[in-house]
């Protein structure tokens, strides 16, 4: 299995009027060909910023200050954000599905126009060919009556249908990798499952890699092969999906799993334990572990030493913690 994307130590900071926000502070992850990976964390932990940084879609006052994004043997961060090289990759080899299907499609353009523009730009199709291809793509993602609906406007589509359109757009130029930023957060649970199945099915067929960013560990555990858990701008645990879900080793991941019910679990057999406190303010972060204040497993070393780097605790399993909760 070859590595498609190798993100190394990305640092994306936002220069806000309240101070420097280190939204992504040294994020590294790898994506293999045809692999589905999950990036999990609470709201505001820097998941979206990390993948937007890879595509260089960070807007002011944000700035990618350091890191490497190795894709096809080139470091994407050496290209200017909106230069020709980056534009040639965005939307064709590397695409993105956004969180809000309600606002991520342009309300004044027809679905057809919005799907065809990538095809015309990256695959040099003419209007007619692009239109026919759009209809095929819409059929492929399960939009009923696609021949007619292709001329509709986004407001005539339901949330789930709009997200199908977004998926069709993301797949249109046969990308090597697709980023899905909370793709199912805004739709109801049944639609969520349908969309995830659809995405899994399509990427498997095209041998495309998929990065799912979500706050729902349950969602990714089912589809992803590997999972990265983020907290306060850093990756704090990574490993195979099965290991993370069934044998978490970092106190935060353990807390995260203890706070949500599991499928198939009998009612009353396990008490749900919330993680107390709030995520830290990303301005003026302490040098120590950012989870320290909420941690139930802390030892003396935690408040004296800086936030530890990731260390291997098993085959492909890494945590950034002095404590290793093995067997708990």
């Amino acid at each position: 299995m070859s590595i498609v994307l190798d993100v190394q130590d990305i640092k994306t900071y936002f220069h806000t009027e309240y101070g420097l926000v280190k939204a992504a502070d040294g994020i590294s992850f790898q994506v293999n060909q045809g692999e589905i990976i999950g990036i999990v964390g609470e709201s505001g932990c820097g998941k979206s910023v990390s993948i937007l940084s890879v595509m260089q879609l960070i807007q002011t006052p944000g700035e990618i200050v350091d890191g490497k994004v190795m894709f096809d043997g080139q470091d994407l961060l050496r290209y200017t954000a909106n230069g020709a090289e980056m534009r040639a990759i965005r939307g064709s080899k590397m695409t993105m599905i956004f969180q809000e299907p309600m606002t991520s499609l342009n309300p004044v353009l027809t679905i057809c126009r919005q799907v065809t523009e990538s095809l015309e730009l990256h695959l040099d199709m003419d209007r007619q060919a692009a239109r026919e291809r759009s209809i095929e793509l819409l059929k492929g993602v399960g939009v009923p009556d696609a021949e007619r609906r292709v001329d509709d406007y986004p407001h005539q589509f339901s949330g789930g249908m709009r997200q199908r359109v977004m998926i069709a757009m993301a797949l249109s130029c046969n990308p090597r990798i697709i980023f899905a930023d909370e793709p199912t957060t805004a739709v109801d649970v049944t639609t969520q499952a349908q969309l995830l199945e659809l995405m899994k099915d399509l990427v498997t067929r095209q041998n495309t890699s998929l990065v799912i960013v979500t706050h729902n560990l349950g969602v990714v555990a089912r589809y992803a092969q590997r999972i990265y858990v983020m907290y306060a701008g850093r990756i704090i645990e990574s490993g195979l999906s099965d290991d993370i879900f069934n044998h978490p080793r970092h106190p935060y991941t353990v807390g995260l799993l203890n706070s949500v019910p599991r499928l198939g679990e009998r009612h009353g057999t396990r008490k749900l334990i919330p993680i107390y406190g709030l995520p830290p303010n990303l301005i003026n972060m302490p040098p120590t572990c950012a989870f320290l204040a909420r941690c139930t497993e802390k030892v003396e070393k935690c408040s004296k030493e800086p936030w530890p780097a990731l260390r291997a605790v098993g085959d492909q399993h890494y945590i950034s913690c002095y404590v290793d909760i093995k067997g708990k």
Partner: protein, 323 residues
């Protein structure tokens, strides 16, 4: 879309009817008697050469229909308008339809030039500022726009006249020449009135276009467009402008009203014999027939431009079209 337009037209007609009622009542409820002003040099029942008897006064009062009840007068006036008869001026005795036909084209001509300059200039400045936000150019133009918006049009007119005519002597202070008679003179005479009125429109629109563009730039669908790898030029033209124009079109409709209102001042300042000045003199002379017809005409123009705005909205935004 057709049903939408028909509904808008019907609403427009209803509003226009309400305007006629308001206009009619406003003028009638003012203190004073048009006939008394008209015969200002006469004195009813007095002595001397310009003597007018109460009988003669009563006769004229009856002839103009002023002795009938207000609803009857209103219906009568409205009926005549439907027949294209706007009445006769009380002071000059001229047919008001003819008077308007002579004056309105001048006002419309200057207004149209102002409108085009204001719309194009304002949109252009607004887009430039939005694309280069935070730059010295944006800051300068935004400050200028803030000043430009608050300057009263007649004050700017007089200031321009003082500077360009009195101090520098570049342009004539006032007057009107038909463009086909002497084009050079015509241009020199309309520069200042157009400039004085256009400044406010450019400034107001520039501010609005700038903020609308900035808002649209942060929209999720614009981020989607960036993620597709489109060029900035394509994103601005295809994805941003149409969305940003929806509130701007509303302001453009309002600009027409502003320009018509401004013409009342500016034509007086620069001595242009258009509708604006006709209205001003009619108000001072208590020529109620002209005031009524003029306000009605302006009202109709504004209602019509709002109708155009509504239709443009439907064209720009598919969500409105189907509503």
């Amino acid at each position: 879309m057709t049903a939408y337009i028909i509904r808008r037209v019907i609403i427009g007609i209803i509003v226009l009817l309400l305007v006629t009622m308001l206009v009619f009542l406003l003028v009638r409820l003012l203190p004073g008697d048009p006939l008394m002003v008209y015969m200002g040099q006469f004195s009813v029942g007095g002595s001397g050469t310009t003597r007018i008897t109460p009988e003669e006064y009563q006769f004229l009062y009856h002839q103009y229909g002023l002795d009938r009840s207000l609803p009857v007068q209103y219906i009568d006036w409205l009926g005549k308008i439907f027949h294209g008869d706007l009445g006769k001026s009380v002071t000059v005795g001229q047919d008001i339809g003819e008077l308007i036909a002579e004056r309105m084209p001048r006002t419309a001509y200057i207004g149209l030039i102002t409108f085009v300059i204001g719309a194009v200039g304002g949109t252009f400045v607004g887009i430039i500022c939005a694309l280069r936000r935070g730059s010295w150019m944006d800051n300068t133009l935004t400050t200028l726009a803030n000043i430009g918006m608050t300057i009263p049009v007649f004050w700017l007119g007089i200031l321009l006249m003082y500077l360009l005519s009195y101090k520098l002597g570049w342009l004539p202070t006032h007057g009107w020449t038909h463009p086909l008679d002497n084009f050079g003179k015509h241009i020199s005479q309309i520069i200042m009135p157009v400039l004085a009125m256009a400044v406010g429109s450019i400034a107001g629109l520039a501010r609005l276009v700038r903020s609308c563009m900035l808002e649209v730039m942060r929209a999720d669908y614009v981020r989607t467009a960036w993620a597709k790898g489109l060029q900035e030029r394509v994103i601005v033209v295809r994805h941003q402008i149409k969305n940003a124009m929806i509130p701007v079109v509303t302001a453009l409709g309002g600009a027409i009203g502003m320009i018509l209102g401004g013409s009342v001042f500016i034509e007086t300042v620069f001595g242009i014999p258009g509708m604006g000045r006709l209205m001003t003199t009619a108000i001072f002379d208590y020529d109620y027939q002209i005031v009524q017809a003029g306000v009605l005409l302006f009202g109709a123009i504004i209602i019509f431009s709002n109708l155009i705005v509504d239709i443009a909205w439907g064209w720009l935004d598919p969500r409105i079209r189907l509503a």
